[in-house]
């Protein structure tokens, strides 16, 4: 029998239904891969019992002819999703040991669809980071290495770094991610996997530890477009517990997959050609344009004039919302408490938060507090919300001319851990990802090739609101032409 770890979600689902293997065999195979790969530090908690229980249930159901959409499929769950009875720390010291009494809507839907959980996936603390170096549980290592013979430890990207590393290293066939300003797409690009950020409101945010509520969206990270479509179908849907959840039926994205994109108009935004980006990024973009033409699409140059303001806008809005959302970590209701002897309630808050939050989280809370404070609210926060409206309008105008937009996912391949120490330099990682986040648009990253150092590069497709199908169909057209089969050689 082929190595079960090499199978993706669709192959596991279909093979299990046909009776090629049992769900228990699949679970055992991935559990053992997870145990062997601890050097990657992709998981903060391993939950083999959960995966086994779901697998045994799936095997029992199969004997009755009962199949659920994800029967037999074990998944990894980003540590941002509340999981009942399993530590949900958001990779922060302040929540270490927190075991929710409930499942997030999204993880609950996946489990109800038959999926098991292999464990909780490491990430940047509260999803604030682009390299997984802000986790209180240590850096995640990318399974990829440069082809220079060196063993430099590379970032899997962030914030969904554990998800990216685990899927890429074949520790799980798919994983949940969340994307606030690129946190699904950039790590997917860095590790040669596929990731989808759906339209804002498609996936319920209930039970997902909040970072920036107007931007946060859950999405799938998996090996290919079909596997993402399968997961996204289960993860999406109206939830009365999330006031921004969209009350819409979930399309049958998997059944609707088609790489026939003849006649589609693909926009190439000229503002995404920025100085200082390696030539290889431009080259992979050019290659993507050729693949789109080859698929019968029409290429249209477009302008998104406010692109250069997207990052600074994001770095006002996201910290502002974070400073508000993270006010709940006060050492009273959950999480850890530090109470100085004979100290006041206020002393307890301050000591708890100083000890519990890492440097990047503290920095962003401070920035957010400042831009929302009296006297600065208009100049910073309100101005940013206005510029955000202009960025969204740019996309609306562009989508009058084109169906989809093609760009690189990230401005570089994966970098070495510790190589980027300046916060601003780190923020630039999301330069191509953030505009679509600010506009709430569906977007995905598809692996496109390797750079000269043998590291994966991704292409991003951005679509109109609610057009996940169009995005994934174009992704499939790219996937078929890229024929990306490279995988990291196991060293862990």
């Amino acid at each position: 029998m082929a190595n079960l770890n090499d199978l993706g979600i669709a192959a596991i689902r279909d093979g299990f239904r046909k009776g090629d293997f049992s769900a228990r065999e699949v679970a055992d195979s991935f559990i053992s891969a997870v145990e062997k790969a601890r050097a990657l530090n992709a998981f903060t908690v391993e939950t083999p019992d959960h995966a086994i229980a779901a697998a045994e249930q799936a095997d029992r159901d199969r004997s009755q002819g009962d199949f659920k959409p994800l029967s037999g499929v074990p998944l990894g769950i980003k540590d941002l999703f509340a999981t009942k009875g399993v530590q949900t720390a958001s990779a922060s010291k302040i929540l270490e040991g927190f075991k929710p009494e409930y499942d997030s809507t999204v993880s609950g839907k996946l489990f109800a669809a038959g999926a098991g959980m292999l464990g909780k996936l490491n990430m940047d603390e509260f999803a604030m980071g682009s390299s997984n170096e802000t986790s209180a549980f240590g850096n995640v290592l990318s399974p990829w290495r440069r082809n220079d013979g060196g063993n430099a430890a590379l970032t899997p990207g962030g914030s969904s770094g554990g998800s990216a590393s685990a899927v890429s290293a074949r520790l799980c066939p798919g994983a949940t991610g969340t994307d606030t300003g690129g946190s699904i797409r950039q790590p997917a690009a860095f590790t040669g996997i596929t990731g989808v950020k759906p339209t804002y409101g498609r996936c319920s945010r209930w039970g997902i530890v909040a970072f920036a509520s107007s931007l946060d969206q859950a999405g799938p990270m998996a090996r290919d477009v079909r596997d993402c479509a399968i997961m996204l179908e289960v993860m999406s849907g109206y939830d009365p517990k999330d006031s921004t959840s969209l009350k819409l039926d979930v399309p049958q994205w998997e059944a609707g997959l088609s790489s026939d994109i003849r006649g589609k108009r693909i926009g190439i935004p000229r503002e995404y050609r920025i100085d200082g980006v390696p030539a290889e990024i431009d080259a992979v973009w050019e290659q993507g344009i050729q693949w789109m033409k080859d698929a019968g699409a029409e290429i249209v140059e477009i302008s998104l004039p406010h692109t250069k303001y997207a990052l600074p806008t994001y770095y006002i809005i996201a910290p502002a919302e974070a400073s508000s959302n993270l006010a709940r970590y006060d050492g009273v209701r959950y999480g850890n408490r530090v109470a100085p002897e004979n100290g006041s309630l206020d002393d307890m808050y301050k000591a708890t938060r100083a000890a519990g939050f890492g440097a990047e989280v503290r920095r962003r809370i401070m920035i957010g507090t400042y831009v929302l404070s009296a006297g600065f609210y208009d100049a910073y926060f309100n101005q940013a919300q206005k510029v955000r409206a202009l960025i969204a309008r740019d996309f609306q105008d562009a989508f009058k001319q084109v169906d989809l937009i093609l760009t690189p996912t990230a401005p570089s391949a994966a970098f070495g851990l510790g190589e980027t120490t300046d916060p601003l330099g780190m923020y630039l990682n999301d330069v191509f990802a953030v505009p679509a986040s600010l506009a709430g648009l569906p977007a995905m990253s598809v692996p496109a090739g390797l750079d000269a150092q043998g590291l994966p590069l991704g292409l991003q497709i951005i679509g109109k609101p609610l057009d996940e199908q169009g995005v994934m169909n174009a992704g499939l057209a790219l996937e078929e032409r890229a024929g990306f089969t490279a995988r990291p050689e196991a060293w862990w």
Binding site: K99, Y200, V332, R333, G335, K350, R353, R363, S373
Partner: protein, 95 residues
């Protein structure tokens, strides 16, 4: 606009994060670097532009005013660092 040590202390107080003198010194240039960069938004002409409130047009829904949840005190208190007599417990606030 730039921040000095007094402002950083004030922000830290508003954010309820204890900071040491050393941390304040380090935060001043860090925050100024970031604030200097986001300041470029000031150059965008936003005349007549309404601040964005919803990224995807969506009506905030009303629901019937009914009790749909509750009677889960122990579950609510389960993760509290300190709970006493069925309540969250904090350091004394009234003498």
């Amino acid at each position: 606009m730039s921040v000095d040590t007094a402002t950083v202390r004030h922000i830290a107080k508003l954010a309820r994060i204890a900071v040491t003198d050393h941390e304040v010194e380090a935060l001043v240039p860090e925050l100024n670097n970031i604030l200097g960069w986001i300041e470029q938004l000031g150059e965008v002409d936003v005349t007549g532009v309404e601040p964005m409130t919803a990224v995807i047009p969506n009506q905030l829904r009303m629901r019937p005013d009914e009790i749909t949840d509750g009677n889960v005190r122990d579950a609510v208190l389960k993760n509290a660092p300190v709970a006493e007599h069925g309540f969250f417990a904090v350091p004394k606030v009234i003498e």
